[in-house]
Each structure stands twice: as C-alpha cells, then as structure tokens.
Symmetry: C2
Subunit: 110 residues, 2 copies
DNA sequence: CTCAGTAACATAGTCTATCTATGTAAGTCG
DNA sequence: CGACTTACATAGATAGACTATGTTACTGAG
C-alpha cells in the first residue's frame, strides 16, 4: 500500500534510529516489516527521499559493500536528523489526534 | 494547518453524518471546530472535494437559503456515502496503526 | 438608491510528494 | 560469457491540497 504523503521521511529517519547503518534496500525492507506488511516502499519514492534527507543534512551516507560484496550506499541519521524526527513525530501526533477527534465526535455535538 | 492528503473526503463525509444538512461554509467550520482548531479547510480544497463527492454520488446537494437569506448549496450524505465513509475510516485506521508500529518499534528489534 | 462590504460558491493553476516506468552498474553463478 | 539479480538513480505521471482570483447576490451605510 502507498505511503501517506508527508510521512515517508519520518519513517526513514525512525528506521535509522533502530539500526545504525543501513543501505536503501534494507531501509525499505525494515519499513515493510515493522509496518507488518502494510507499506511497500517503492524505489521511486525511496531514493528521492534519501536524496532530500541528504541535502538537508538529516542523514549522512558513505559507499560500502554488502555482505555478498555488492556496492551500496550506507546511511545513518545525524543529530539534526534526530531533532527533525522528534518534530515530525510530534506534528504527526497532533494531526492524528485532530483526525480522531473529528471521526469520534458524536452526532448532535456542536 | 494543512489537511493530510487523502483525508479530506473522509472528514467531510463524517461531518455530514453529524448534522443532516450543511452548506460548504458550515462543513468547513465544523471540521475546524471538531479538530479543535488544528485544521483550516481552504475554499480551494473544500469545493473541489464537494464536487468529487457529488460526482461519485456520495453526497447529494440542493440549493437553498441561509438564515440571513443568502443562497447556498446544502449537502447531505447518501447511503453510498456512508458505506464509503466506513471503508475510508477502516483504511485510515489500518494505515495509522502501521505508522504507529514503525514509530514505536524498539531499537534493536528486527 | 447606489455602492462598499461580505457570504458563499467556483475554478484555474501551482506545488509537493508518491508512484510507474525505465535505465545503469556491477556482482554471482551456471 | 551471458542470464540473472542487487542496488542506486531519474524522468515523467498522478493525486490532492493550496494560492489566487473571480462571480453572484444579499445587506447596510450614506
């Protein structure tokens, strides 16, 4: 299923706080797994997102080798990335609560 | 604040289950109030959304008069609209839970 | 009675972010 | 060597909310 617009960067940053260094494919797999298979992160969404995060200094990257000796770019979250993640989670909670209020306001209430 | 893409139709349908007939402005105000002021529904988002819902038969509309005698289009939710609302709420919950799982998976967990 | 102000509806075009489709480099293995 | 796969990458399509603008029609001041 599609990732809700505006949440992908947050999910990537969060994933990078769980495992110190991951390359793109690993990040995508981790999101799919921790979401219990609800989300599929497409490459056309993943790599542009990682570029955005790189440019903003929220993640850092270096080229390395996978277990089976393929080249891959390994990402880790920066201090600025952690701060941004906190902000985004806070903001997401605010919005989620607001939606819940609308969805659960009883009929007849002003 | 901005309405998360993909949620506006659901919020409008839900609002119309609370008050039987409302015109556009009233719907927008109701969403702002029940969200505790978190959301502001802009006219450029509201009216296209109502058109979408009309075309799909999820709401019905008729022209009428406001309390102070201005013309306004009054909307009510249809049976198909109630079914769609149920689907969208169910889907939203699924996504929200998936995001929560990603955000709350402890470090070190596979 | 006219004219400014405003409520309500409406649409065109912009922007943002994800997706689809495609392409490339480089390693493995038969 | 050649088919297959992993991993990265980008161009273009698409969706949905936003900004900006415009129109209609009622009210109220002067």
């Amino acid at each position: 299923m599609a990732i809700p617009p505006g949440t992908l960067d947050m999910l990537i940053l969060k994933t990078l706080t769980r495992v110190r260094e991951q390359h793109g494919f690993e990040i995508a797999e981790a999101i799919e797994q921790t979401s219990a298979g609800v989300f599929a992160v497409e490459e056309g969404s993943l790599y542009p997102a990682l570029q955005r995060l790189l440019v903003q200094g929220l993640v850092a990257a270096e080229w390395g080798r996978t277990n089976d000796n393929r080249r891959a770019r390994y990402y880790r979250i920066t201090a600025a990335g952690r701060r941004r993640l906190e902000d985004e989670v806070r903001e997401y909670d605010r919005v989620a609560k607001a939606i819940a209020r609308v969805l659960h306001t009883a009929p007849g209430v002003a």
